[in-house]
């Protein structure tokens, strides 16, 4: 015979395992980069690979929504880039991008 507490725990076990497992693997991905890099010396090709990673990640995050979502998004990306380049002000660039995308979506129906 099981107490109500135990049966509650048994019923919750799959979701506890799932969320615990998700948390564990997510932290492992967050920690792995530093764990590896602090153990190796980087030079030559690997150094050039690593130096290109930040820009490549940002370009990859942006590419589909900037270039493949439509003319409104493409123009808004251009506007964001211009404001960011001229002002170096992140909130301003973000607001400009959102404003242009709204205006363009409205204009294009």
């Amino acid at each position: 015979m099981s107490t109500p507490d135990a049966s509650f725990l048994a019923a919750s076990l799959p979701s506890i395992l799932t969320i615990g497992g998700m948390a564990l693997v997510t932290y492992l991905t967050r920690a792995a980069g530093l764990a590896v890099m602090s153990r190796i010396t980087v030079s030559g090709r690997l150094e050039r690979f690593m130096k290109a990673i930040p820009g490549a990640i940002l370009a990859s995050i942006v590419a589909p929504s900037a270039l493949a979502a439509g003319p409104a998004e493409a123009l808004a990306t251009l506007a964001t880039a211009l404001v960011a380049w001229r002002s170096s002000n992140l909130p301003l660039a973000m607001a400009a991008g959102v404003a242009v995308v709204l205006a363009m979506r409205f204009a294009l129906g």
Binding site: R30, G33, A52, I53, A56, L58, V62, A68, S88
Partner: protein, 257 residues
């Protein structure tokens, strides 16, 4: 062995600077947090389950994808495996921050990394690049500060979505879906790419575009990043420092015979 002089600062002002700089982005994140809370309730997740995920997993994309797979008979292993794959891009992100993180005490670095998201990673990277350009001493607590900012807003908003919100407009109606594209675009511009960066950036962009079309989830980010890295590693070696054509020294001009 590391000597103390290698270590960089890890201060409260640095943490607060990270928190403050991240506020506009965290507000955008919160819109999606509300959406996640709402969807989680509709999927039948309890408040405790929803919040445990936000508190311990703390990864927006994989949490939303997990809802898709959530069902009465929980596919425990495929949920965990999917989460791992969706978050593999963090490996490269953490590695990209390692020039600074290796100069922190390891509990500071590995503690901060728990809170690293796409947004706080990008802001921190931008900050560190700017510090270098301005010859300003970096503060390692910036990553933790910006990460905590996203953490607080994400957790408050997922609770709000689960408990209170009964229906939600599509964020796209207000252009908020574009806020993230705008942030990452501005941060990319802030990296001030040089001539030798053009080929890797083009390789990343093209690969991401193709993979976003062909592959599910966030594979396109990892694929694009690797393509960009490979283009830089295998492409032409940049001449450093960038040289202007050498000016002929006075009197050294030799006439061709």
């Amino acid at each position: 062995m590391r000597t103390h002089s290698d270590l960089i600062r890890f201060s409260l002002p640095g943490l607060l600077a990270g928190f403050r700089n991240c506020l506009p982005v965290a507000l955008g994140v919160a819109v999606y947090g509300v959406l996640f809370g709402l969807l989680a309730r509709q999927k039948g997740l309890s408040l405790v389950e929803t919040q445990s995920m936000s508190l311990f997993v703390f990864a927006g994309a994989s949490q939303l994808i997990a809802l898709d797979l959530w069902s009465r008979d929980l596919p425990v292993l495929s949920l965990i495996l999917t989460t791992l794959i969706v978050n593999l891009r963090h490996v490269l992100m953490g590695a990209a921050l390692s020039p600074w993180l290796t100069r922190l005490k390891s509990n500071q670095a590995f503690g901060s990394l728990f809170f690293m998201t796409d947004e706080s990673w990008a802001l921190t990277l931008g900050r560190m690049v700017e510090d270098k350009r301005l010859a300003r001493e970096p503060d390692g607590a910036f990553l933790l500060g910006s990460g905590l900012c996203v953490y607080v807003f994400w957790n408050l908003s997922t609770t709000l979505g689960h408990v209170l919100v009964r229906g939600l407009d599509d964020p796209a109606k207000y252009g908020l879906d574009f806020a993230f594209t705008a942030v990452f675009t501005a941060l990319l511009v802030g990296l001030k790419p040089r001539r030798q960066d053009i080929l890797p950036l083009l390789a990343a962009t093209a690969t991401a575009l193709v993979c976003a079309r062909l592959l599910p989830g966030k594979w396109y980010i990892l694929a694009g990043a690797v393509a960009g890295g490979l283009a830089a590693a295998l492409g032409p070696v940049p001449t450093s420092p960038p040289t202007s054509p050498p000016a002929p020294a006075p009197g050294s001009t030799t006439r061709q015979p």
